[in-house]
Structure formats: structure tokens, C-alpha cells
Amino acid sequence: MELICPAGTPAAFEAAVDAGADAVYCGYRDATNARNFPGLNFSYQEMRDAVRYAHARRVHVLVAVNTFPKAGQPELWHRAVDEACDAGADALILADIGLLDYAAKKHPKQRLHISVQAAAANPDAIRFYQQAFGVRRVVLPRVLSVHEIAAVAAATTVETEVFVFGGLCVMAEGRCSLSSYATGKSPNMNGVCSPASHVTYADDGDTMVSRLGAFTINVFRRDEAAAYPTLCKGRFVTSAGEGYLFEDPVSLDAASLLPGLKEAGVTALKIEGRQRGRAYIADVVRSFRQALTDLEAGRPVAASGLKAMSEGQSNTEGAYRKTWR
């Protein structure tokens, strides 16, 4: 299985390549990609340099243009697609049907992947994208169990890529407007979820209150692990009580499920975290490279030991191991 690693800066890119990535995914420094954070991502020139660095080391580069073009102003997205093709990207990761149509017509030879933001959660959706745009790979939404992933992989000739580590969306990706409800900025339109521009922390000595726009997302005691106020990972109140209604602030860690994913016929394993530092990238990539080496050699796969890297400092196998099936 291929190891697909994130990079938000050229330094992180080199860290990922050097730590053993088979491919690195990244995006341009604008609203065309789903990690449109201040100070992050690549200029057109930086992307070209990154492609050169990677190709010299036989590592692939996947360019994410995975937000939804603004109506009436698709030029920035079209330019990102053209530029990535010209820079020698090995694949483009796209989510918008109109943009897929543009890329497939303008660059018929370019390899296209369906972004997780397209929420292609079943073989019919994948078949639609395959027939319509000739996509070669789908990044599966994190809503499927290993069993369901196996069924999807068996039912399609499109390659499958699944997330194995990092931040976890509990909602179907690319179909969530929680962020824009609170802030006016959404993953689909602006490439940001729960953006820093709308985050405030207030520390009153005993507790820290995190807010997003006009809404309180969490209150932490002094001795509690904190979390960024990602909307779906907050503590809320309903008539049934108070707590983490949608999801605890945990990260995905599917290291122990690698044998199952291999058996399921998965082509590539993806690590989340283009917004994370190069220390994170290097540690996580190295850990999963080791796990894959062990797996290929028939040795037991060691636990990843990456808890400190995780949000809330706690990990979950997410939907991959569903207890309710």
C-alpha cells in the first residue's frame, strides 16, 4: 500500500519525503484547497520546486484543488488546475463536479482523484465519477467501516485511498455547513473549518473557554487536555445532558487496522494534517512507514505511539471499527 502524506509548507514537504512518503499531497496558498489557513500552503513556484524535489526522489505529488469554485468566478480554480498540470503533478485531487469536468476536458491525460470532500461513499457514486470524468482513485469518506471499505474496493475498478491517521470529521466531509453557520466561512466555499479568525480563548484562571463566532464550543478545566474549537468536537447541552454530543476531541489512528485494510484491497493510506508542523509530519510518516515495512514483511504491526500528537491526546479507530454493525 502507498503512504500518502500531507504538507502545508515546503519544509514539511521535504520532511514528508525524507521520512518515507510514497506521495505527498498539498495545495496552493488560496481558497482553492481545503486547508486555506494563514501562512500555509504553496505559491505556484514553491509547488514547482516541491515537484522537482519529490520527483528526484521518486516520490509522487498530489495537488489538492478540493474546494468548490465560487459561482461566477471559477478562474482561480481553473488556474490552479492548469498550473498543477503544468508543474508536473502526478494527480489532482478534486471535489467539484464542474471542476472535474473542466479538468477532464482540458487535461484529458492528467490523472484525477476524487477528494474526500466529494463524499463518494459508495460504489455507485464512484462509478458516476469514473464514467463521467475517468477518475482513477477515490479518497473514501471516513464514515465507512473496514468491512464496508472492502465491499467498496471489491465493487469498483477505481483505486481506493483511506485515511489512517489524524483529524477526524464525524460528519460526511464536503457536506457540512456547521462552520459557516457559526462564522460565515465553510470548508466547501472557503477551504476552512472553524477558522482561526473566529476563534477566541478566554482563560479566567480556573477554566478556559473556547468560542467560535458567537458560540461557546468548550470549557476546559486547568488539568484537562485542550482542543481547538472545531465545531463538531465541542461540548454541548441537550435535554439528555451535557457532553461531547457529536464526537470527543479525538484523532483517528488506524495503525492496528492496516492488515485489514490491506486485505480489503485498499491502494493507498492517507495521513491527515497539512496544517500541522513538520515535527508532526516527520514523526507520523516515519511511524507509518515502519508499520508498512513490518506489514509487508509479515511482522506484527506495532502500535503507532503517536498519542501526544493528537487532538485531546486520545485516538480512535473511528468508523473503521463499528460496534453497531
Binding site: 494563514p38 480563548y201 478556559m208 484537562e224 501526544a308 493528537s310 485531546g312 453497531w324
Partner: protein, 185 residues
């Protein structure tokens, strides 16, 4: 959820006390030199900071008797040591000195430091994120920066600083891993 015990070393309390009466003046030229060297060597920092280069960042080491004010402007960038952070800063980052330093040179992952509560951040979060990303990309090397202006003594000074830093930081460890069996329902 309890936060795991921090793996960031802190400066012992007695050292902080010893430093307290020391004047800050000798520190200023050193800081000024470091920031100018850093920004000269890593001009990409400005690209990444973009408009946030005009912000004023306060760094507040909890284990030192002084703090720093950083203004990473394209023209006249400055870093100053102060007894206490002034009001009106755009950003305030608080934590052990080595956590702040690790954030600056990418030794630690900024998010991880925040999740473990080693760092607290207040103020303009976009500016914090931009600074973090700009610094992370720059791969700042403190021993090299520190030694840069020492002429013929540079190699020796760099080597000594690097050794001292490695010793002080100890080995970076990830806390023991315990898998939590969480049902996904």
C-alpha cells in the same frame, strides 16, 4: 480527559530566581542580532506572514523572569526583552521557555503543545497560525543564528550551543501509547 504529563523541560525555579535581578540591557543587542539574522536568512517568513507581519507578538516564558515582544516587520523587525508584557499586543503566547523555543524552530509541533496545555495562546488567532506556519517552514536553527555574528569563533560557538541545547532539551519523547477502545456510535 486528563492531559498527559508534559514532555517539555522547564527551567528550574532557582535559575529563574537567580536571573531575576539581572539587567535586561545586555540581552537586547543579542536578540536584535538574532531576529535580523533569522529574517535575513529566511525571507520566506515574510511571504507566509503576509499582512500579519505588522502584528505585535508577546512571548511569555512561564519559567523565566522576563518576556519577549516580537515585531517581525519587513522593515525594522525587532525583538525585545521586557520585564512584563505590555498591553495592546495582538497575540500573547505563554508557556515554558523551551516550548516557545521549540515552537519557533519546529522542534515541537505547535498543535501538540497546545493540546497538552503546554502553551496557551490569546489574541488574534489568525496571526498565531500564520506565525506558527511561517516559523515552521523557516527551519530556524538557533545555534547557527546565535553563532552567525561571532566571526572566527562561530564554528566553536555553534557547536557548543548545539550541544548545550540538546542536553537541555533532553530526548523528545511521545508519551506511552494506550489504545482507547472507543465505540463509534
Amino acid at each position: 480527559m486528563e492531559s498527559s504529563r508534559s514532555s517539555v523541560p522547564t527551567i528550574p525555579g532557582f535559575l529563574g530566581k537567580v536571573m531575576k535581578p539581572l539587567p535586561l540591557a545586555p540581552l537586547q543587542p543579542l536578540l536584535a542580532m538574532c531576529i535580523r539574522a533569522a529574517l535575513k536568512k529566511h525571507p520566506r517568513i515574510f511571504d507566509r506572514l503576509d499582512t500579519y507581519a505588522d502584528k505585535r507578538f508577546g512571548l511569555n516564558p512561564t519559567d523565566l523572569p522576563f518576556a519577549f515582544v516580537l515585531e517581525p516587520r519587513r522593515q525594522n523587525a525587532s525583538a525585545q526583552a521586557v520585564r512584563e508584557l505590555p498591553d495592546g499586543l495582538d497575540v500573547k503566547i505563554t508557556g515554558p521557555f523551551f516550548a516557545l523555543m521549540g515552537l519557533a524552530d519546529g522542534y515541537y509541533d505547535g498543535d501538540a503543545l497546545f493540546f497538552s496545555r503546554d502553551l496557551t495562546v490569546e489574541g488574534d488567532m489568525e496571526a498565531v497560525v500564520a506565525l506558527r506556519n511561517a516559523l515552521d517552514d523557516a527551519k530556524i536553527d538557533f545555534p547557527e543564528l546565535f553563532a552567525a555574528n561571532l566571526g572566527p569563533f562561530a564554528p566553536a560557538a555553534e557547536k557548543a550551543t548545539r550541544a548545550a541545547l540538546e542536553l537541555l532539551r533532553g530526548r523528545r519523547e511521545n508519551p506511552t501509547y494506550t489504545r482507547e477502545e472507543k465505540s463509534w456510535n
